[in-house]
């Protein structure tokens, strides 16, 4: 049953994603990519969980790599998206 619930959540979330993202204008497609990239860095949650229960050297190494890569995604993704969006301005004349 757990799996079925997970699949349900996945399918519904995909539909929400389609609805929300089709409304993003082409001019913002690059920030959309980098921003959604940062969101896929949510793997950090999984990385922290496996790091917390690692009990072998191999487990530690894998967990360290997972946390590092996910953190690059999260911090880098949100920061660079913010940098880009700050530049999108409408000039009055």
């Amino acid at each position: 049953m757990e799996l079925v619930i997970s699949i349900t959540v996945f399918v519904l979330a995909a539909f929400v994603g389609f609805e929300v993202i089709t409304k993003v204008p082409p001019t913002l497609h690059t920030p959309l990519m980098s921003g959604s990239n940062a969101i896929s860095g949510v793997t950090i949650i999984g990385a922290l969980i496996v790091a917390g229960k690692a009990d072998s050297t191999l487990g530690d190494v894998l967990a360290f790599l997972a946390v590092t890569m996910a953190m690059i995604n999260v911090i880098g993704g949100f920061m660079v998206t913010d940098r880009m969006l700050e530049m999108f301005k409408k000039k009055e004349r």
Binding site: V9, F10, A13, A14, G17, F18, V20, I21, T22, V24, P26, T27, L28, H29, T30, P31, L32, M33, S34, S36, N37, A38, I39, S40, G41, T43, I44, I45, G46, A51, G52, K53, A54, S56, L58, G59, D60, L62, A63, F64, A66, V67, T68, M69, A70, M71, I72, N73, V74, I75, G76, G77, F78, M79, V80, D82, L85, M87, F88, K90
Partner: protein, 457 residues
């Protein structure tokens, strides 16, 4: 903290991601949307740290190292280098999913069948994303050749790898103890990412990056299935949907199918068309002074930027030229083809960096009807997206691709280094049109000459 409470807080984070993406529907609200999504992520991370403890050195070291690298990359990247950076971030996302799934595999002594299935999926998809993204990264920053690259037996190798992956995944599910099988799966995923991306040319990168973006999302979702965490499943699905939508837009803008981009090296030996037959016709080469006069006395100018603008870093001088023309009363707008540049929205970011107001940037379908009423179409570093052969010549390999109808403007001006054809090796009949002027030169220096000439008018 009880599991129920942390699950509810994760739900808040996921809701913030969705709301943040929703605010990306307008440049006005986009920045706050991204900040809300970041806040959601911060909440989720803090809750997880409280729950699983921060005693492990791996957590502290990983957070410090990862944040440092991420912040450095985000701050130091040039706007022209954005495609490489996004490719690299896609790769790290895929890599993280691989690591989470394999760590779970080694720590869970007796995983359920469904867990093993999702571990296999997560490892394979994540590995393809990782190596494929870094191949794309190398092609985009020129460390690897950007040309389409074919090799013997290419059409046989990939199906073979996929077949082996399927067989090994079944083995992994049947006999859950096989860590060697997992390593081989990981390795094959990495190989497949390389063999899949290496044959694809630079100009197809918008499709590849979008697709890898979708893959990184799906990999995150699969990792969510592995550790049974809805926050990952939801966020991964959102990103997967986003990447698929962008992939679809890019593929449509090239009038090609996804399969064609992935499996046919465009412009390779098999590309046909009438290249060469028109090369003997005369072209009108103009001086910067001629072009400056044409534009200075125009009422309306539409600028069509392409990848050459990014290569020459000419966005700032272009804005300066537009300012001068506007001061003379010329209406200047920008027409942006969906596949101009190396990733979706690449040109828009460059022009935003150069302080061009976003309400002057128009998508293909919004501005194409205006070319017949436009005095000058100025094409900077673009080629195939303005090739009339796509509209008229049924034998052309790009026939049917939607293009910007610059040849309908009273005068078209092409800034280009030489008459050499674009990525697809297709001659551009636009260059030989009666009403077309060629301004030969590097985009940046040509525009600087134009600025000087307009100032002297």
């Amino acid at each position: 903290m009880s599991q129920e409470i942390s699950a509810l807080i994760y739900l808040v984070a996921a809701a913030l991601f969705i709301y943040g993406l929703k605010r990306l529907s307008s440049p006005r609200t986009a920045r706050s949307g991204n900040q809300l999504a970041a806040a959601g992520m911060a909440i989720a991370i803090v809750v997880t740290l409280i729950n699983s403890g921060i005693s492990a050195w791996t957590i502290i070291a990983g957070i410090i190292v990862g944040s440092g690298i991420g912040a450095y990359l985000a701050r130091s990247v040039e706007m022209t280098g954005m495609p490489e950076l996004v490719a690299a971030f896609n790769g790290f996302g895929g890599g993280a999913s691989v690591m989470v799934a394999s760590a779970e595999f080694f720590q869970n002594p007796d995983p359920a069948v469904q867990t093993v299935v999702t571990i296999a999926l997560s490892v394979v998809i994540g590995a393809i994303t990782f190596s494929g993204s870094f191949m794309a990264w190398g092609k985009l920053n020129g460390k690897l050749p950007g040309q389409p690259f074919g090799y013997p037996a290419q059409k046989l190798i990939d199906p073979l790898i996929i077949a082996v992956i399927v067989v090994l995944s079944v083995l992994l599910v049947l006999d859950t103890g096989g860590s060697l099988v997992l390593w081989i799966l990981l390795g094959l995923g990495l190989v497949l990412g390389v063999t899949r991306v290496i044959p694809i040319g630079g100009a197809d990168m918008p499709v590849v990056i979008s697709l890898l973006n979708a893959f990184s999302g799906v990999a995150a979702s699969m990792a969510g299935f592995v550790i049974n965490e809805n926050a990952l499943i939801i966020s991964g699905a959102l990103v997967g949907a986003s990447g698929l939508i962008l992939t679809n837009i890019m593929v449509k803008a090239m009038n090609r199918s996804l399969a064609h981009v992935l499996f046919a090296a465009f412009g390779g030996a098999d590309s046909t068309g009438d290249g060469g037959t028109t090369s003997d016709k005369p072209v009108k080469s103009a001086s910067a002074e001629d072009v400056a006069i044409t534009m200075g006395y125009a009422q309306s100018v539409i600028v069509v930027p392409g990848y050459g603008l990014a290569v020459a870093q000419a966005q700032h001088v272009l804005r300066e030229l537009a300012d001068l023309l506007e001061a003379k009363g010329v209406d200047v707008r920008y027409a942006i083809h969906p596949v101009a540049g190396r990733m979706p929205g690449h040109m828009n970011v460059l022009l935003a960096e150069a302080d061009v107001s976003y309400d002057k940037l128009f998508a293909l379908e919004d501005i194409n009807g205006d070319f017949p009423r436009t005095d000058v179409a100025l094409i900077v570093g673009a080629n195939d997206v303005v090739n009339p052969a796509a509209r008229e010549d049924e034998t052309s390999p790009i026939y049917g691709m939607p293009i910007l109808d610059v040849d309908f403007a009273t005068t078209s001006v092409v800034i280009k280094r030489s008459l050499s054809p674009g990525f697809a090796g297709i001659d551009n009949p636009l260059f030989y049109n009666e009403n077309n002027l060629m301004l030969f030169g590097d985009a940046k220096s040509a525009i600087q000459e134009l600025i000087a000439a307009v100032k002297e008018m």
